[in-house]
């Protein structure tokens, strides 16, 4: 009897340990956490033209301090914008209504996060409010595309000063002009 008792004890301890490990994995290594353990919070929405690779669970920070996380990303078919729901910790309840939200990159090629910059208004954002001033993600590919377009354009312009402006897309031309002129010299 004594033997089977220690045996059952061992089995029980092992199973308990295993489930504790599973519990640790699901709650501590993912952004999920426990629903009843999540701190009080409120939701803000913001619309962006382009969110890059922002993901659900990406941090929301203000002056570099994490104050919340992205809880939902949706697409608004009426104005073709991304709708991002920010879940802000209730401790940070005094965000001015004219604050702006921008999408930044952590490190050179790291993940995206949303940075809020405080405005000067006296009223504060409440639950379900929308942040009106937003700035889209900086998309590396389009920047590289622009640089490449500038490069080919300046090469083409070098021999025949203003003969080949068609190489670059129209919107990058304005920005490209000064650089191209410099290169041509």
């Amino acid at each position: 009897m004594g033997k089977s008792r220690t045996l059952n004890l061992g089995t029980g301890a092992f199973v308990l340990l295993g489930f504790a490990a599973l519990f640790f994995l699901t709650t501590q290594t993912t952004s999920r956490g426990l629903p009843f353990m999540s701190p009080p919070h409120y939701d803000l929405t913001a619309k962006f033209d382009n969110i890059g690779d922002l993901k659900v669970g990406s941090p929301v920070s203000m002056s570099g301090v994490e104050i919340g996380r992205v809880s939902k990303i949706d697409f608004d078919e009426a104005d073709f914008k991304a709708v991002v729901v920010l879940r802000i910790n209730a401790r940070y309840s005094q965000i001015p209504t004219d604050s702006d939200a921008s999408i930044y990159t952590q490190g050179l090629l790291g993940g995206k996060f949303i940075g809020l910059t405080a405005g000067g208004a006296d009223t504060y954002l409440k639950d379900k409010d929308q942040i009106d001033f937003t700035q889209s993600a900086f998309v590396l590919e389009s920047l590289i595309g622009q640089v490449l377009a500038n490069f080919t354009k300046s090469k083409a312009e070098a021999p025949a000063a203003e003969a080949a402006p068609a190489a670059a897309p129209a919107d990058s031309k304005a920005a490209a002009k000064p650089k191209a002129a410099e290169k041509a010299k």
Binding site: S4, L7, N8, G10, T11, A13, F14, V15, L17, G18, F19, A21, L22, F24, L25, T26, Q28, T29, T30, S31, R32, K55, G57, S58, P59, E66, G107, L108, L109, G110, G111
Partner: protein, 253 residues
């Protein structure tokens, strides 16, 4: 030449069919074996709790190696904070289930196969049949179920200890910031990654335990036969685990 190839293909298919038939027999006998939960509990202890030490030690060292290697690689790009993410995803999705299953085949699978093989060799199984005790239900199914239950728990323990090992090297020795280590991990590990790990280890648990009890139950009743059954258990388990791992990974992508 072609004839031999055809024959060996036939043999392989026949063996697969026999194993699947054996699995069906185990499943049919499972409900009645569940009535004797003490037997299953004892097998969970044998396969699981007794494998804990080797699983935990291996997990720690695998995690520490991941920490060192990952740190070396990531610091070249100045993104050593991603170490937590890299180690956690690697462990939870791949290394945890696969290495645990390989160790399980070596530690518990061989024990199961040689135990059943010796029972066969010393006529204990025939004796049970004589006494109208179904050996499948009394001996084989509890061992099989014990392995199936133990494996996901062992894999989860392996992953947690491995993450601790990576954290030990990365944060304590190499000086990666602890906050960004954990926050990057949390931001990038999804619940689906963990589910994938659990599904993998469950399937590996079924495969490993099935191979072990099959080899043991049908071992040739000689000293040599028991030895061969043990060897085949490890070899077949290793190949099947890695093959299944590829299949499951491809299915989850």
């Amino acid at each position: 030449m072609l004839r031999e190839l055809w024959d060996s293909l036939n043999d392989a298919l026949e063996a697969l069919g026999a194993v699947i038939q054996f699995l069906l027999r185990l499943i049919v006998n499972t409900p009645r074996a569940l009535m004797r939960f003490d037997l299953i509990s004892q097998q969970i202890f044998n396969s699981g709790a007794l494998s804990l030490v080797i699983i935990m030690l291996s997990g720690l060292f695998v995690g520490m190696v991941l920490g060192v290697q990952g740190y070396e690689l990531l610091q070249r790009f100045g993104s050593e904070e991603a170490l937590g993410e890299a180690a956690a995803i690697g462990l939870v999705k791949e290394l945890g289930p696969v290495v645990t299953a390989l160790l399980f085949a070596g530690r518990a699978g061989t024990a199961l196969a040689s135990e059943l093989g010796l029972m066969r060799a010393t006529d204990q199984i025939s004796a049970m049949e004589m006494m109208a005790v179904d050996p499948i239900q009394r001996v084989v199914v509890p061992r099989f179920l014990g392995g199936v239950i133990a494996m996901p728990l062992l894999a989860a323990i392996f992953s947690v200890i491995g993450i601790y090992g990576a954290q030990l090297v990365g944060v304590q020795f190499m000086g990666v910031d602890a906050g960004s280590f954990w926050s990057q991990m949390r931001a990038s590990v999804a619940l689906s990654d963990i589910n994938e790990g659990i599904v993998k280890s469950l399937i590996f648990g079924v495969a490993c335990s099935l191979i072990a009890v099959y080899q043991g139950y049908y071992a040739t009743p000689t000293a040599e036969g028991v030895g061969r059954a043990t060897t085949y258990t490890v070899v077949t388990s290793a190949v099947v685990i890695l093959f299944l791992d590829y299949l499951i990974t491809a299915a989850f992508l």
